[in-house]
Symmetry: C2
Subunit: 223 residues, 2 copies
């Protein structure tokens, strides 16, 4: 997939992507012109076209930049966790920080303009998104197989995870009364220990979180 | 809020809303013209304007129709459940059926075109949405107060519930391998019993779901 990026001015291009992402995030893709993006970058339209082929290429590059950030800041950091529950918990925590932090506008654009791209570019972004769904499904399946969690349908679990995390951009306010850290902690516990009462947790005879009292088992054994 | 609807041809108007909702859902609000909506309704544009003032009024009426359906089919059915956990579980189940069923296009439009309405119309739809968030927060708070669930932050719990349920429109396929019923059952258990293992459930010494072994308490007592 050709990125349209010229190697010698990567830093400049990154600034353009950041600026364009901010505008598209505020006004939508259709509502933002190349003229406006150029002006916000303090460039002429011709100058902007020196860096980018066209508006769809720019959208594709913003989405790719967002997917890169997601893979570097989330997926790559948890991929090798041997325990699937710890892998999923840390993945949720990091993904929440990505959504509430500096990359929120790229995430919003990936989610909101999903039908705007066409052809090969759209298929490419879609396949990167699908990889994440598969990663989550695999981790839930593995956790069930290892009896680290109760049997759940992995697809429903994966999309529940995603729904909780990705919906955050609709309601979270960085300067609101809940911190990103608080949302991350609450949400991870909500999915992984559910809503069972303190009485239930006490039935496990320790003050530790419900899940941690079940030791990881070695994978491979049948049920 | 004036609805623009003429009382004597309510049925006709409902068909127009259904048709317009289908088009806007497929092509987006900006990508759908009144001319196209009229054609799909087998009317002239002048005929369409006999029923509706303008396109924004039409969008508002589609959203109101979706909110009416939601309130009738979900909220009104669970509002009076005395037990907050049963209220929330049934609410989630009914909302999932709404999202996966006949009203999915109105729901998509409410979610996707949230920034398209302006002024009073937007404030009115927003306030109906906020009522739902508050209903969920109140139910989670009440469940915590009654010790029916462990202490959770009610806002995070409410938006986790909403994220799981409303994200469904992004991935669920009515003719796919998962039925709406299966998604509803899985998702309710996912949030309300979490991922605790069968071993943990067994520690409660019964085969019944984790939550049901903790009897509801009479409200009012401190902690």
């Amino acid at each position: 997939m050709h990125s349209g990026r010229k190697q010698d001015d990567g830093e400049r291009y990154r600034t353009i992507l950041e600026t364009a992402a901010r505008l598209i995030c505020e006004r939508g893709y259709e509502g933002t012109s190349m003229q406006e993006i150029a002006a916000a970058c303090r460039m002429t339209k011709a100058g902007l076209y020196h860096h980018v082929q066209n508006k769809e290429q720019l959208l594709f590059d913003i989405m790719s930049y967002g997917m890169d950030a997601f893979e570097q800041q989330v997926l790559d950091k948890v991929r090798d966790f041997p325990d699937p529950v710890e892998r999923l918990r840390e993945c949720m925590r990091l993904n929440i920080h990505l959504v509430t932090g500096g990359c929120s506008k790229e995430v919003i654009i990936i989610l909101h303009e999903h039908a705007t791209l066409t052809g090969e570019a759209r298929a490419f972004i879609d396949s990167r998104k699908k990889n994440y769904v598969r990663f989550l499904e695999d981790a839930f399946s593995e956790a069930v197989r290892m009896e680290r969690i109760r049997p759940v349908q992995p697809t429903v679990a994966a999309f529940s995870f995603l729904g909780m995390v990705l919906w955050i951009y609709k309601w979270f306010q960085p300067d609101g009364r809940l911190s990103a850290e608080q949302v991350a902690n609450e949400m991870v516990e909500l999915l992984f220990t559910g809503l069972v009462t303190p009485a239930m947790a006490a039935a496990g005879a320790t003050g530790t979180p419900v899940l941690s009292i079940v030791p990881p088992k070695v994978a491979g054994g049948e049920s």
